[in-house]
């Protein structure tokens, strides 16, 4: 049955060096519940190591969680990847790790904490997750699609790490599924400013608990799967984005 589902596709956990340590699995899921989100995606920078714990927490609270990642391309463009299966996110992680150099400096960038569902520390990721991979935007999008995921250009309105800040405009050849706008711009202003050929999604890019669901996208779909979301982006079979 088609219904309106509230989504926030861009939430960080305590694994992202720039996110608050309060971003632990149960706290994120409880906050998503308070904000009445039906579907969330976890997108840490260049890593998916907290997805298993988040997935477990989401299942306990009956929230649909999509495993995801925020990949940094060589152009320093942030691209979101959304998947159905944890395995796909982990496969992407393997490819990104092979293309990511450097070691994190906790004092400069923050801690990268790997946790279990209870928020207990399992370890610290030592990679420079804040850094850029060696994958071009085209390679990033192609890799995400080869793993049956959705590729969304993150926060295109921001003046750093966005497709438009780095590359001036949305490259025609790039086969993205959607463009995300940040809470800094309204949907109508973004429509006017970018006149996009691709669908726009609103997500919070939350790095702390209170920002979760700050902006969200309502989809008219059956359930939170990549194929349903894709249909909504393409306005197929009655699925759509409700703005």
């Amino acid at each position: 049955m088609l219904r309106e589902l509230k989504t926030d596709f861009h939430i960080h956990t305590c694994l992202s060096p720039c996110a608050e340590l309060e971003m632990s699995p149960l706290a994120i899921i409880q906050q998503a519940k308070i904000k009445e989100l039906d579907i969330i995606a976890i997108c840490d920078h260049n890593s998916a190591e907290n997805i298993p714990a988040l997935k477990q927490a989401a299942d306990d609270y009956d929230i649909c969680l999509l495993p995801g990642m925020e990949v940094t391309s060589i152009e320093e463009v942030h691209i979101l990847a959304l998947f159905d299966a944890i395995e796909s996110a982990l496969q992407l992680q393997e490819i990104v790790y092979a293309n990511l150099s450097g070691k994190n400096d906790e004092d400069a960038f923050g801690m990268q904490v790997i946790v279990n569902v209870h928020g207990e520390v399992l370890g610290f990721n030592e990679k420079l997750l804040i850094g850029a991979s060696n994958l071009t935007v085209d390679e990033t999008v192609r890799t995400i699609h080869s793993l049956n995921g959705l590729a969304i250009a993150a926060h295109i309105d921001r003046d750093s790490f966005s497709l438009i800040s780095q590359l001036g405009f949305v490259p025609e050849e790039l086969e993205l599924d959607a463009l995300e706008i940040s809470p800094l711009i309204s949907y109508n202003s973004a429509l006017k400013k970018y006149n996009p050929r691709l669908p726009l999604t609103n997500s919070s890019d939350a790095h702390n608990l209170k920002d979760i669901g700050k902006t969200y996208t309502t989809l008219y779909i059956e359930k939170g799967t990549v194929s349903e979301i894709k249909k909504a982006f393409l306005q197929k079979e009655g699925r759509k984005i409700i703005h």
Partner: protein, 112 residues
């Protein structure tokens, strides 16, 4: 100063647009953010960057720039070279860093 004279003086490699090197370079702009180049570069500028995505060619044409110098020996994406050749636009390369080539070009343009 003519682009071809700059190329000779600074030992710059020409990757495309060999027949378009007569342009008069009025100044230069150094930046890796294409949104910034769109906002702040001026017509007839030479653009110094390490960004190698094919969008650089479109931005350079849009802003009527005389050429693009890729720094640090960066190898451009295949599509970028193809686009530059298709458009017959001067895509150039140097082993020098953005700082070094900017400094040399600044001196050269001030001297004449």
């Amino acid at each position: 100063m003519k682009l071809k004279n700059i190329i000779n003086e600074l030992n710059i490699e020409v990757l495309s647009g060999q027949d378009q090197l007569d342009g008069d370079v009025k100044g230069a702009y150094t930046s890796d953010l294409l949104s910034d180049v769109i906002a702040n570069s001026k017509a007839d500028d030479l653009w110094i960057t390490m960004q190698k995505h094919q969008n650089i060619i479109a931005v350079a044409k849009l802003k009527d720039l005389t050429g693009i110098i890729l720094v640090n020996d960066r190898e451009p994406d295949q599509e970028t070279i193809k686009k530059a050749k298709d458009e017959s636009f001067p895509l150039l390369a140097t082993k020098l860093s953005a700082f070094e080539i900017s400094g040399k070009l600044y001196t050269l343009l001030k001297r004449k």
